[in-house]
């Protein structure tokens, strides 16, 4: 049985990474607005999740946000654009880590089901 709640939350976590990577390669302001919006959504979606790695997932999402918010400000101020790109890359790394943890959690849950 497919868990639609999981599809919904995982969708945002993956979209956060893909939109971020899109910005890193295109340097496009539209893509940046989408990236920061999706990253914030992905963070909020992790609020209150009671999973094994909930704290770590929330932390990585907050790290990504705190990279992207200064990146957005710097990018639109047109001052340190390369730094803005660098920050976006940092955020992308945090997104990758959160996806890795998502996979670890899936494995944990699989084992738990077996024990029962």
């Amino acid at each position: 049985m497919i868990n639609w709640g999981k599809v919904w939350s995982d969708f945002f976590i993956f979209l956060a990474l893909t939109s971020n990577v899109g910005f890193i390669f295109s340097h496009d302001p539209y893509q940046l607005v989408i990236a920061i919006g999706v990253n914030l959504l992905a963070t909020v979606l992790k609020f209150g999740a009671k999973k094994i790695l909930a704290a770590e997932l929330l932390a990585t999402a907050l790290v990504a946000d705190l990279h992207l918010i200064p990146a957005t400000i710097l990018y639109f101020m047109e001052t340190h654009v390369p730094l803005a790109i660098g920050l976006a890359i940092g955020a992308a790394v945090a997104n990758v880590i959160s996806i890795i943890m998502l996979i670890i959690e899936v494995i944990f849950e699989y084992h738990k089901e077996e024990e029962i």
């Binding site: 496009d28 539209y30 607005v33 920061i36 919006g37 914030l40 909020v44 609020f47 639109f76």
Partner: protein, 383 residues
């Protein structure tokens, strides 16, 4: 799977973490904010993006303007655009704004923002924070007492402990008394069943000095005594005091591990008898008993066992110069055979196994304890 860690003698029970309970409650508030905040973020991003597309501008100043425009729109503040728009885009802009208002107000304003405010208003964050702070401080307690049940007896007890600066945690199973407990000014309390191992571990029984249980029913007292003794079996390092309704129950409690058990009816009866036998004088009335019950903080009474290997044995009271050195006075000597010598003179000799009853200021008594300890050690070194 084999468990490597050795199981504790009282079973495999984890302490109840009261702080974590309130941390989770705070986390649950965040959970309620999930969808409202998502709506706000989604529509803000959407508004900025569409304005960027229809105006075909993506420089920093415009994006900030579009962000501002979106926020004032869905928050129903609503100026006009507040910035110069290219006339060729003005109509499209206005058309979009109209549609956006129609869609965004119910979702973002009515649902997103109103629910967020509502969650904060209804979730008693200050209350959760208060509990969280109390339990965080409770985790650091050491050498405290655990008191079970909030009633007349324990109220009096807590009042006196507070005056002496002794820390305690109250466990009360009846949640309806919480308001009263808080008004009474109890610093640390939990509303829970005190006979559970997890609860006693949660209030730090492993670092505590003792437990005092004063239920109206013997069965509840018994279960607390037994549970506490399971975790802390040593009678010298961990005290258990209890009340009982009958002498039979009191005896049983002592056999099961209580250090002292008081039967309130019998104690009160004896006090009444003492009034009849010794009519109270206005000056002396209750003087000794005030000392014994710890109502006075400037004077206290203790019992010190001289022990067998002390160089004080065989000396006369006037020879040991205890009063001059410590400021405390010997008011009675209890001999090894249990005979008591009240108000001993300076000629009285200290014998093996004597216990001295010493009266004085609490600080003087500390010094007296050190005085006897000092004399004991010297003897040990000499042999």
């Amino acid at each position: 799977m084999t468990r490597k860690k050795k199981q504790k003698h009282y079973g495999n029970v984890r302490p109840k973490n009261y702080r974590a309970i309130y941390e989770e409650k705070f986390y649950n508030i965040l959970f309620q904010l999930r969808y409202p905040l998502m709506t706000v973020i989604f529509f803000t991003t959407l508004g900025v993006l569409i304005l960027m597309i229809i105006n075909n501008k993506s420089d920093g100043e415009s994006v900030l303007n579009y962000f501002f425009h979106t926020v004032i729109t869905f928050s129903t503040v609503g100026y006009t655009e507040g910035y110069q728009t290219d006339p060729s885009h003005l109509m499209v802009n206005r058309f979009f704004a109209t549609v956006f208002i129609i869609v965004a107000i119910p979702f973002v304003y009515m649902y997103g923002l109103v629910t967020t405010v509502n969650v904060f208003m209804n979730s008693n964050i200050d209350e959760i924070y208060r509990y969280w702070r109390m339990y965080k401080a409770m985790e650091k307690l050491k050498g405290h007492y655990i008191i079970c049940r909030f009633n007349g007896i324990t109220k009096e007890l807590m009042k006196n402990l507070k005056r002496r600066g002794i820390k305690f945690v109250l466990i009360e199973p009846d949640a309806s008394l919480e308001k009263e407990i808080r008004e009474f000014g109890v610093e640390y309390y939990v509303i829970d069943e005190p006979h559970k191992r997890s609860v006693l571990l949660g209030v730090g029984i492993e670092q505590a000095k003792g437990v005092i249980t004063a239920f109206e029913e013997n069965t509840q007292d018994l279960s607390v005594i037994v549970t506490a003794r399971l975790i802390r079996p040593d009678k010298d390092s961990f005290m258990v005091f209890a009340t009982a309704t009958t002498e039979g129950a009191a005896e049983k409690m002592k056999l099961l591990g209580a250090n002292e058990v008081i039967v309130p009816d019998i104690s009160v009866g004896r006090r009444m008898t003492s009034f009849v036998l010794h009519p109270p004088s206005p000056v002396l009335s209750g003087f000794l008993e005030k000392i014994a019950y710890g109502e006075r903080t400037d004077i206290d009474i203790i019992e010190i066992n001289v022990g067998e290997n002390s160089d004080l044995v065989g000396k006369k009271l006037k020879e040991i110069n205890m009063r001059q050195e410590t400021g405390a006075t010997v008011v009675a000597i209890i001999r090894a055979d249990g005979k008591m010598k009240i108000a001993p003179s300076g000629e009285t000799e200290i014998k093996k196994g004597d216990s001295l009853i010493i009266l004085g200021h609490p600080k003087a008594l500390r010094r007296a304890e050190e005085f006897f300890e000092h004399h004991k050690i010297e003897e040990v070194e000499a042999t």
